[in-house]
Every structure is written in C-alpha cells, then in structure tokens.
C-alpha cells in the first residue's frame, strides 16, 4: 500500500497533465474549425475546375496531347507524402507512414525518390535512408500558399523534365471530425479528363483563343489546386486527430484521478483505524 503522501503526489501530477491535454484539445479544436473552413471554401474551386476540364475535353473532341497528360514507360517514380510537423496527434502520422511503406514495397521495382511534407515523415524516411529530393516542413498547422506552389513547381518540373515518370501523392482526406480516409493518388501525369456524356450537352463551344492554349493555362492551375486541396485536407485531419487524441488523454487522466482519490481515501481510513486501535489498546493496557 503506498503511503498517503505518495498518492497525493501522484494525484497532483496526473491533474497537471490533465490540464495540459485539456488545453491542447481546445487549441486543436479551434485550429480544426479554421482548417475545416479552409477545406470547405477551397472545394468549390477544385470541383468547378474538374468540371471545366471535363467540358473542355468533351467539346474539343480531338485527341489531346499535352506534356501534363504524357504517359511514359515508368522507370522512375516520385512519392509525395504529407504528414504533420508535430506529434501528439494519435495514430495520424503512423497511419500515413504505414500506407507509404506499403506503397514503397509495392513499387520496389522502380527507382524511387521521396518529397516529404511535414517534419514527421522527413525524419522517418531519413532514418531509413530513402532518397529525399526535397522537404517542406514548419507549416505551423496552416496552409502556406507560397510553399504549396513551391511543391507544385518542383513536382511538375521533375515530371516535365523527365527526372521522374510518375508522381504519387499520399495524404489523409478529411471526412468529418472523427473520420479520415487515407488516400493514394496519382498526381502526375494528370489522368485524361473523362468525357462528359450528359444528355443534351451542347458540344458547340467557342474557345478563346484555342483549346491548346486553354489547356496550357488550365493544367498547371489544376495541379496547384489538387495540391492545395490535399494539403488543406491533411491539415484538417491532423488537427482533428490531435483533438481526439488529447480528448482521450483528458478522459483517461480523469479516470486515473478518480481511482487515485479512492486509493487515497482508503489509505487515509486505514491510517485512522490503525491510530484508533493504538489508542484503544493503549487505554486497555492502562486499565488492566
């Protein structure tokens, strides 16, 4: 049985931990709200761009050839992985890294290099001595558009110059505060937009100046928009995961304080009983 003082000390420690996890939970909740808003505000642009591309493909009917669509024989692959900079967000990073590892195993036949986004995956792949082409970290839990554009221009430069034949992207899609979905997507080359077979679709489009120039302008934009979406979703998932993890930690700490308080009371009672016994037996000894 631990002594009274020891139990009291433990209660204090657990309570101060609880205060920290509670504060972290609240911070994460506030950041999540903002991140979620970002995702929702960025979605319409991305959806409209998809739609426009599909209309463009439908209406300009001829076979499109554009560097961004070029499917080469794949020898070299690049993987972009998005994780967080900081830990204490439950299994968020572990899940992403597990998926990335599976991908690396499946693609072991290719010459692979990695672009890491977030400190956690950079550290992870560096320890395992993978070839890291570039690392983007210190996001501070928000989207930095300039940094996002840097990733896009690095990725597209590598693809267009033939340094790599295919680029995959692994990130976490944000569905709701408690639900995330791991995603593996081919980032480049861009999949040819599907022809929109919607009935009554008017194919008689006017193009200004011509479809090729519009592709030239729209495809880099499309790549940027996809990357920004992925980053926004990943950041929202990170805050959501952290909020959940810290919420659980707070509940656990509460339970622990309860058990410890029970132990403390038991120990206190045992001590009183012991003292009473001593007094009573002392008195009896005197009376005898």
């Amino acid at each position: 049985m631990p002594t009274l003082r020891e139990v009291k000390k433990r209660i204090k420690t657990v309570e101060s931990t609880k205060r920290i996890t509670k504060a972290m939970e609240m911070v994460a909740a506030a950041k999540l709200r903002r991140a979620q808003q970002r995702v929702e505000q960025a979605r319409p642009y991305s959806e409209k761009l998809d739609l426009m591309l599909s209309h463009l493909a439908t209406a300009s009917s001829d076979e499109i050839t554009h560097p961004y669509f070029e499917e080469r024989e794949v020898k070299k692959k690049t993987l972009i992985v998005i994780t967080s900079d900081r830990g204490l967000c439950g299994s968020y990073n572990a899940n992403v890294l597990r998926l990335a590892n599976n991908w690396l195993k499946e693609n072991a036949a290719y010459d692979i290099d990695i672009i890491t986004v977030g400190k956690k995956c950079h550290d992870y792949f560096k320890r395992r001595s993978w070839k890291i082409t570039a690392n983007f970290q210190d996001w501070g839990g928000v989207i930095d558009y300039d940094k996002a554009k840097e990733i896009v221009s690095l990725a597209s430069d590598r693809f267009l110059s033939g340094d790599t034949d295919e680029i995959a992207l692994i990130y976490t899609q944000f569905i709701s505060t408690v639900k995330y979905k791991l995603q593996t997507k081919r980032y480049l080359p861009i999949a040819r937009p599907e022809v929109d077979e919607e009935a009554g679709f008017n194919m008689d489009y006017i193009f200004e100046p011509d479809p090729e120039s519009i592709y030239d302008a729209i495809l880099p934009n499309y790549a940027t928009s996809k990357m920004i979406m992925a980053l926004a979703e990943a950041i929202a998932s990170e805050h959501g995961s952290r909020m959940m993890a810290m919420g659980n930690a707070t509940t656990n700490a509460e339970e622990m304080v309860d058990t410890l308080t029970l132990d403390y009371n038991k120990a206190r009672q045992a001590q009183i009983t012991k003292e009473l016994l001593e007094v009573v037996s002392g008195a009896e000894a005197l009376n005898a």
Binding site: P44, Y45, K48, L51, M52, L56, Y205, F207, E208, S213
Partner: protein, 136 residues
C-alpha cells in the same frame, strides 16, 4: 438574366443572377449576355464589369483565370477577385513598388528571383490600381 459565379481557391466570391457581363479575355474584352453560346476562355488580369438585375453596374479586378459559359451559367475561376470599391490602393501601390524594385534587382543581377513571376505581380498591382482609380 443568367447566373454568374466567381470562384477563387479561397472562397466562392460572388454568386448571383445578373444581366450582362464583360470580362478580360486573353484576346480582348468579351461581352456576355443571357443565352450566350457555350464558351471557354482564358482570362488575363483586368476589369470585370457586371450589370445586375437592378441595372446597377459593378466593377471588379480579377487576376489570371478562366471563364466558362454554358446553359445560361457563367463561371469565372480566378486566383483572386476584388470589388473596385474595396481595393486598398495603398497596398496595391506597395505591391507595385516591391515588384518594380525586385525586377530592377533581378535585371542587374543582385537578386535571384523568377522574373516572370515578378512581372506578373507588377501587372496585377498595376491592374488593381488602375481599376480602383477609374471613375464609376
């Protein structure tokens, strides 16, 4: 009357029924009225003119983007959009000065920057200043 939505990566900026629209296409300004033929065009930084259902005219500045018109719905996708009345001239002047400075530095070799990106930034800033200063 037709529906216009202006969407930027940050938000849905504008979504209303309007009477007519003039946008800065890469080949020159384009006018759009209701029942316009389907159209897809690239846009350059410039002024968008909207006439709303009450015949009031609004001006906006937009950056590079695209417009699609189809089935009486016009969609403008652009990097950024701003109502002329809401443009912060001071900020635009600062952006202009910064871009000009950077271009000078890139040209004399004391700074390594993307010249095209700086030129585009200068163009955007000039566009915003011009639109904000025009009388409406």
């Amino acid at each position: 009357m037709f529906r216009l939505s202006i969407v930027t990566p940050e938000q849905v900026f504008f979504e209303e029924d309007i009477q007519s629209l003039v946008v800065p296409g890469t080949e020159g300004y384009l006018g759009v009225l209701s029942n316009h033929a389907p159209l897809i065009s690239a846009l350059k930084p410039g002024r968008v003119e909207i006439r709303d259902v009450e015949e009031k005219v609004h001006f906006l500045s937009v950056t590079n983007g695209f417009i699609e018109v189809s089935k009486n719905v016009a969609t403008i996708l652009c990097e950024a959009a701003e109502f002329a009345t809401e443009i912060d001239i001071e900020r635009a002047e600062k952006a202009k000065a910064l871009a000009e400075g950077n271009i000078k530095k890139v040209l004399d070799g004391s700074l390594e920057f993307d010249l095209d990106a700086e030129k585009a930034a200068l163009e955007r800033a000039k566009n915003r200043i011009r639109i904000a200063k025009e009388k409406h």
